[in-house]
Structures are given as C-alpha cells and as structure tokens.
C-alpha cells in the first residue's frame, strides 16, 4: 500500500475542501474496516485519507422520543447498541448493527461507512430503509438529503458527488404500535456476509389485529439493497395473519432479482427471501405488540 496524506479536519467545511481538492484520489474514512481492506487490496489508490472522526457532527448520537434518532456517519456500532434508550426504541436497527463483523469490527465499523460502501449485502442498509432513515449530505454546493433507499446506485456506487460527505442519518421517532426486525441468512453463526438479508418495519391498527402500514427491504438479492414499496403497501389494512404475511413474502420473492455466486444460488436466495420475509414480519408484529424479540447480543445473554 503506497503512502498517502492523512488529514483530520475538525469541521465539515475543511473536510469538504480537502475532499474536493483531491477528487477521486481522496476518500473520507470513518471506522476504516472496509476502506483500509480495499486500499490494501489494491481496489483503489489514494493520495489523501480524510479522517472524519474529529468532526463533531459525524460523531453525534442523539435520540428523543419526540424528534427521533440522529446517528453521525462516524459513530461506531458498539456505541449504538450500547445505548439503552436507542436499543429499546429501534430494535430493528440494533438487529443489524449488532451483527456487523465481530466485537473488534463493531468497535470501529459505522453505519455511515456501511451505507457509503454501498455493498448490496450491507446489513444496516435494509434496516435503515424500513425505518425511513434519511441521509444528510454536505458538499461544495451546500447540503441535501436523500432517503437511504435512494442512496446506493450499483455495487460500491452511490449518489455522492465529488466533494460530498455523508454527515449522518436521521429517522423519525417510533410510532405507537410499531415494530421492526432485521434478519440475514449466513451459513455460520457470526462473522459472515449476508446470503440474503431482510428488514421489515410496520405499524398495527389500534386493535392490534390489522396492518396499518409496512415497509420491507432486502439485501444481497440485487445490485443494490432493495426497498420493496409494493410488498409493504399490500399489507395496509389487511388482517395480521399467516395468509397476509405469506402474500407479502411472495411479493418480496417476485421482486428479488439475485445472482448465483459463491454464497448461494439464485434459486436459494429467492427461497431465503420468502423465509426471512415471513420471519421478520412476524418478529416485527411481535415487537409491535410489545413482545420481546432479542437481537444478537441479547440472544447471547440469554
């Protein structure tokens, strides 16, 4: 790996200036768990690494039951699942944040990095999509916001223009009678890349027996994480039943367009999409009804 300039801007303006002036030869680093591996592997060469961790806005983690959650792009996973109020309010997000790599990776890896890496299999991306998370972006031409479902454009590519930095995400406070869940399939217990990942978030009617609304998103079954607006909206007004859930799972399978690779065949991935969609919808319903559904850390703790 050739040497590069390492910079630690304290402000966004300074970071945007450094990034703009280095063009494709500069990158922002948060946890570095993808960036350093790719750099060492020769996927790209850089003249400048811009460490985002000294910028206050990128390190902010704040939650209020009124305004919702804000996660700076450089906040590592362990800080997110280590926050009791956030774990309580957003279990569907913690499902994903607690299964990225092992404990050492979670000490560094960030949701901002996971989204900017824009892998089709990024675990936190479907979880963020179903929770209606919005990306906050700053660049030479000012600030803009992009829904997480519109952020990734191809494997490893996203909507960030030259000089633009992901500052973080914000998402609404959880609604009454709502629940979310994320699950992935991997052939081992930990430390692997999703063969398929599915996230769901939903709100139940006041009697708890009907779906008010639902959102479903998939990982690793298309060139980008997929938001399945139709599969979610067909549940609106429907009774909470195996039949309704089955219909949404079938719709999700119809919208998945996976490839066959070393992790699984196209057919297996379509099968998994159905299985996991049923499971995450059921888990999200349980959570919406106040039933405890453990995340990976809570499951280990028994």
């Amino acid at each position: 790996m050739k040497d590069f300039e390492y910079t630690t801007p304290k402000t966004l303006d300074e970071a945007i200036g450094l990034l703009s002036e280095s063009g494709k030869r500069g990158r922002v680093m948060a946890g570095g768990t993808d960036l350093l591996v790719q750099l060492r592997g020769g996927r790209f060469a850089l003249d400048r690494v811009i460490d985002g961790k000294a910028i206050a806005e990128l390190n902010e983690l704040s939650y209020s039951a009124e305004t919702g959650l804000r996660i700076g792009a450089a906040v590592p996973c362990y800080r997110i699942y280590g926050d009791e109020a956030i774990t309580e309010a957003y279990p569907g997000l913690i499902d994903a944040a607690a299964i990225i790599g092992g404990i050492q990776i979670q000490g560094r890896a960030t949701l901002g990095g996971n989204v900017c890496n824009s892998s089709p299999s990024g675990d936190t991306i479907p979880a963020l999509i179903v929770l209606e998370a919005v990306c906050e972006i700053a660049g030479p031409n000012g600030r803009r916001e992009v829904a997480v479902e519109d952020f990734c454009t191809a494997p490893g590519s996203n909507v960030l223009e030259d000089g633009e930095i992901l500052i973080g995400f914000h998402m609404p406070a959880p609604k009454a009678r709502s629940g979310a869940h994320y699950q992935r399939f991997i052939p081992r217990y930990e430390m692997d890349i999703a063969v398929v990942g599915v996230g769901a978030a939903l709100q139940l009617s006041e009697d708890g027996e009907h779906f008010e609304s639902a959102r479903i998103a998939l990982a690793a079954v298309a060139p980008t994480p997929l938001y399945l607006a139709e599969a979610g909206s067909l549940l609106a007004g429907r009774p909470v039943s195996d039949e309704s859930i089955e219909e949404a799972a079938k719709a999700a399978q119809a919208m998945a367009r996976p490839i066959t690779d070393m992790r699984g065949t196209k057919e297996f991935r379509i099968h998994l999409t159905g299985v996991l969609t049923r499971r995450v919808l059921s888990g999200a319903v349980d959570r919406a009804r106040g039933k405890f559904v453990p995340n990976a850390v809570q499951e280990a703790a028994g």
Partner: protein, 159 residues
C-alpha cells in the same frame, strides 16, 4: 514518505513514535516498537489475532492506522500479566491446554480480558458470541471457551 510524530500511551506508559500514514497500528507495534506479542494473522480484519484495545475498545490493530492513535491509550497482550504472575486468563489457558500453535492466543486473551472487565459472569453463549471475531485453527474453540469460563470464576473470587 513523510514520517509523522505520534504520542500515545501503551499499557499505561507514555510512548511516542514516528510512522508513515499508510502504516497500520499492528505494523508499528510489531516492527517499530517491538510489541511482538500482538500477532498478524489475516491482516484484513477477519481473524482477530491482532486484537488490542484502543481507549478501552477492542479493535483489530490491522484495521487501525497508527496515525489515528495520537493522544490515545493502547492496550496490548504485554500489559496483561503483572510483573510476578500471569493473569488468570493466561493461567487457565495453560491449564486447559487452550492453545496449540499460539498465534491466535494473544488476540483471544486481550478480547477475553475485555469481556471479563464488562461481564465477569458470562454464559458460555456470551463467551462464544464475544469471541466470534477471533479465529483459532488448532483447538476447535471448546478448550478456549472452558478456559475463559474458568478464569471468570477466578476473577470473580478475587474481586
């Protein structure tokens, strides 16, 4: 290229060094500073052999740039034993034969120490979950898990 002056604390001792921006913390620990207890396995964040703590947080030192450690505290395997005795984890790894080739052992010990610091009474499931980022190709893990559980008992008794 340019060498950068970095000031850190390693195992509680003030240490400064010069490094290039491209160098990982692992490379600097081993090759510039002589902390060869930290091992290089995969060098891409999969195996955990290079596990150290950075301001108390477990990290793979291969995925940290040495320049990032300015003003931070690093904990390595060299800081585990006291001058006159092994740490209970080290003692129990010996008693349970929880190692063969030994390359993964420092990483397991540093990770297990961090677990016992925050959870002195872990279940077997918690131990396995916590140590998922550390790979061992010799033992099959069972002996390691038993050693950690046993060491936890000692740590609890001496607390």
């Amino acid at each position: 290229m340019k060498r950068i002056h970095i000031q850190t604390k390693i195992n509680g001792e003030d240490i400064d060094f010069l490094c290039e921006a491209r160098q990982s913390l692992l490379e600097v620990l081993r090759e510039e500073l002589g902390f060869t207890g930290t091992k290089e396995g995969c060098n891409d964040g999969n195996c955990g052999a290079c596990t150290v703590t950075l301001d108390g947080v477990l990290v793979d030192s291969c995925l940290v740039l040495a320049v990032e450690t300015e003003g931070k505290s690093i904990g390595t395997i060299e800081g585990l034993a006291s001058p006159d005795s092994l740490h209970p984890l080290q003692q129990k790894f010996l008693e349970h034969a929880a190692l063969q080739c030994g390359i993964c052992t420092p990483g397991f010990l540093v990770a297990a120490k961090a677990l016992l610091d925050c959870n002195p009474d872990p279940s077997e499931h918690e131990v396995r979950h916590w140590l998922a980022g550390n790979l061992c190709r010799c033992t099959g893990y069972d002996k390691i898990v038993r050693a950690v559980m046993d060491a936890a008992t000692v740590v609890r008794q001496s607390a």
